[in-house]
């Protein structure tokens, strides 16, 4: 058919062709609509309105304590029956604590008793004096159950394989900080600046008008001083060289939400995501230095909060147990059950041993532990309120401790370099948290430097502080 002919005949051809097209269109719409209705009904039927059963427990483990202190273990248990809408109608719970002196004795079962508080459902036990006074400390785990119903659940999840441990500090070095003076903060050398935006040198803010500013949620520093900033909103890391050159960009296949990150010795990158798929736990993803996805593994527990390099691979602080767990060794992921079985209360250090931290009221107890025994310990007290411990890590013969002190109106980070005599170095830094980042992702140590991640209305930055030559 010539072009001329086609121009003369379109109406009749159009009508002839349109009829089957229209018929198909109608049939397709009808069938798809039917399928949608059936599907929607099915979805609605899968969405029960009734209340599900709840069985959960929280526990604040006394990881460290002063010698001679009495110890009371308390479990706040949440239990609600399926189909019961009244939240004040909870179920009866019971529990047993399995307790032993040191690390090798046989566990002894002691029943937990209900506490007398009316507004919480607590089970509690006082640790027998002969166990509490053990110089090697004690280990324990709880078995909690709903009477005639769900359970038992183990707290921590690793049970006898990876119990909680409480260590006495026989002679901690005392550090009394008194009242904190706000407003005398130290600025480090700014080694990285990345404005907010979508360009090649920018870092992004996560989308959502109702969402607080979240962006540049974590960073890490290579052994050579290169800084890698996680730009999760753009699904990438930006890398600045040791002399500040850059950034170069490495795309990562991540979920683009708040995450922590850690570099491995070979330059590969681990990213700890914070949001899990339905009925799963968050992922730790592993990428090579070029951003190629290697492997991923789910965390053992639903609330991981921190990712660091350990002696044989990355380790993750997981909640609710508040235990450190290996998530990979020499590049091979550690399955979730094995993570739980190998959990420990202290952060395993690349140099060997572990560091254990406990903040309670207005004091911080911190200990370097080797083979289950406290090697060095400190007790830091303050007349100004203390919030989270951001970092506790050896640097030479010192321990660098970074924590937040605050009032209702302000807050600062306090940096201490501690030795056997007390404080060797002390200064404060601003918090600079215009944008939310990973809760414990703001500080890193590399070489003799402390690095701090901050942000303001113009962008994210990393500042470097010289901590002096390791002694």
């Amino acid at each position: 058919m010539s072009q001329r002919e086609s121009l003369h005949r379109p109406p009749s051809i159009g009508r002839r062709r349109l009829s089957p097209v229209l018929a198909g269109l109608v049939a397709g719409c009808v069938l798809a609509s039917l399928a949608a209705v059936i599907g929607a009904t099915a979805v609605a039927q899968r969405s029960p309105a009734g209340a599900r059963a709840i069985f959960d427990a929280t526990h604040l483990p006394p990881l460290l304590r002063l010698q001679g202190e009495p110890v009371r273990l308390t479990y706040d248990v949440h239990c609600a029956l399926e189909g019961v809408d009244d939240p004040e109608q909870s179920c009866d719970v019971s529990g047993t604590i399995h307790l032993r002196s040191g690390r090798h004795d046989t566990f002894r079962a002691i029943p937990l008793e209900p506490a007398s508080t009316a507004d919480r459902r607590e089970l509690t036990v006082t640790v027998p004096a002969n166990v509490a006074s053990s110089r090697e400390g004690f280990e324990y785990y709880a078995e909690l159950r709903e009477v005639g119903g769900a359970g038992p659940i183990l707290v921590p999840g690793g049970g006898a394989d990876a119990p909680h441990r409480s260590l006495p500090l026989p002679d901690p070095t005392e550090v009394d900080l008194g009242v904190h003076t706000f407003g005398s903060t130290a600025r480090g050398m700014r080694v990285v600046s990345a404005p907010w935006g979508d360009g090649v040198s920018n870092v992004g803010l996560e989308p959502g008008r109702a969402l607080p500013a979240i962006g540049a949620s974590a960073f890490d520093v290579d052994d050579d001083g290169s800084v890698l900033l996680l730009d999760e909103a753009h699904g990438r890391v930006l890398r600045w060289g040791p002399t500040g050159t850059g950034p170069s960009s490495v795309q990562l296949s991540i979920d683009r939400r708040l995450a922590d990150m850690a570099l491995d010795d070979d330059g590969s990158i681990y990213v700890l995501e914070s949001v899990a798929a339905q009925e799963r736990t968050p992922l730790v993803r592993h990428f090579d230095a070029l951003g190629r996805a290697l492997r991923s593994v789910e965390t053992a527990e639903p609330g991981p909060s921190q990712l660091r390099r350990g002696p044989r691979g990355p380790v993750v602080l997981q909640q609710p147990s508040h235990q450190w767990m290996p998530v990979a060794e020499t590049g091979t992921p550690t399955a979730a059950p094995d993570q739980a079985r190998r959990a420990q209360v202290g952060r395993p250090l690349r140099t060997g041993g572990e560091v254990v931290v406990l903040r309670r009221a207005d004091e911080i107890l911190v200990a370097l532990v080797s083979n289950g025994r406290v090697r060095e310990s400190w007790r830091v007290t303050s007349e100004t309120a203390l919030a989270e411990v951001q970092l506790a890590e050896p640097l030479g013969r010192r321990l660098v401790l970074v924590f937040r002190t605050y009032t209702d109106a302000t807050g600062e980070f306090v940096v201490l370099a501690l030795d056997r005599r007390g404080v060797a170095t002390q200064f404060s830094t601003p918090t600079d948290e215009w944008a939310e980042a990973a809760p414990l992702g703001r500080f890193r140590i590399s070489g003799r430097h402390l690095y701090r991640l901050g942000s303001d209305g113009s962008g994210a930055f990393v500042e470097r502080y010289d901590m002096g030559a390791p002694s």
Binding site: L18, P20, V21, L22, A23, G24, L25, G28, C29, A32, S33, A44, S47, P48, A49, G50, A51, R52, I54, T58, P61, L63, H78, A80, D85, P87, E88, S90, A118, D119, R120, E206, P207, G208, R209, A210, L211, P212, R256, L258, V275, Q278, E279, G303, S305, P320, L358, L386, A387, E388, V389, R404, T405, Y406, D408, A409, T431, E433, P439, L440
Partner: protein, 207 residues
């Protein structure tokens, strides 16, 4: 042959059109299909434990800006809602609507009594995160952050979360409706020492 091909093309087009339309509509159907306007049940007392139960039942149920209705099937029935639209009718509360229901408050800001709202009752309540932060309303007071305990809140001008537990390192486990991409869950946060956040407490807990 040509007619058959045309029919198939039309059929595919029809299915496609419905699919596109349904995809848009799917995220707006949760409230319309599931939620109600039932009155709350007045209760004579509330406990922190009971409010934790209310909060735990909203866990995993998604987030909806300006929303306040959810079921308890442990999944977000309207995932991937648009970020920029408060009227998409999806499952879940936003941070302040979630807090309002967990604290079992009244729609009348001068009323500090206790109201048990059903999970599927679509209600946000009269407070924003900023008004909670200011302690607005008869049931709400600001308190020193260092004295906050379970089911007290940390509120900024743009967000509010409830304390579920405190960790040994001094962080808190916060149960919160965080955002469309996050849903409602428990996360470790460092809100307590952040100057943007203030301590807020619901008054009248039984003890």
């Amino acid at each position: 042959m040509r007619a058959t091909r045309s029919f198939v093309v039309g059929f595919i087009l029809g299915v496609g059109l419905v699919a596109v339309g349904s995809a848009g509509a799917y995220h707006t159907r949760f409230v319309a299909d599931n939620c109600n306007s039932a009155p709350p049940t007045p209760t004579s007392f509330i406990t922190r434990e009971g409010s934790a139960t209310v909060a735990l039942r909203a866990r995993f149920e998604g987030y909806q800006w300006a929303g306040g209705c959810w079921n308890d099937n442990d999944r977000d029935d309207s995932p991937n809602d648009p970020h920029e639209d408060a009227a998409t009718g999806g499952e879940g509360g936003d941070c302040s609507g979630f807090t309002f229901k967990v604290w079992r408050e009244s729609l009348t800001t001068s009323d500090a009594s206790f109201r048990q709202w059903g999970m599927l009752r679509y209600v946000h309540g009269p407070y924003t995160a900023a008004s909670f932060k200011a302690g607005t309303g008869a049931p709400n007071v600001t308190v020193a952050k260092a004295s906050l305990i379970k089911m007290d809140a940390l509120a900024s001008y743009g967000h509010i979360g409830l304390i579920y537990a405190t960790n040994p390192d001094g962080t808190d486990r916060i149960i919160e409706a965080k955002g469309e991409d996050y849903g409602t869950d428990i996360w470790t946060r460092a809100y307590r020492g952040n100057p943007s956040y203030s301590g807020v407490r619901r008054t009248g807990w039984s003890s």
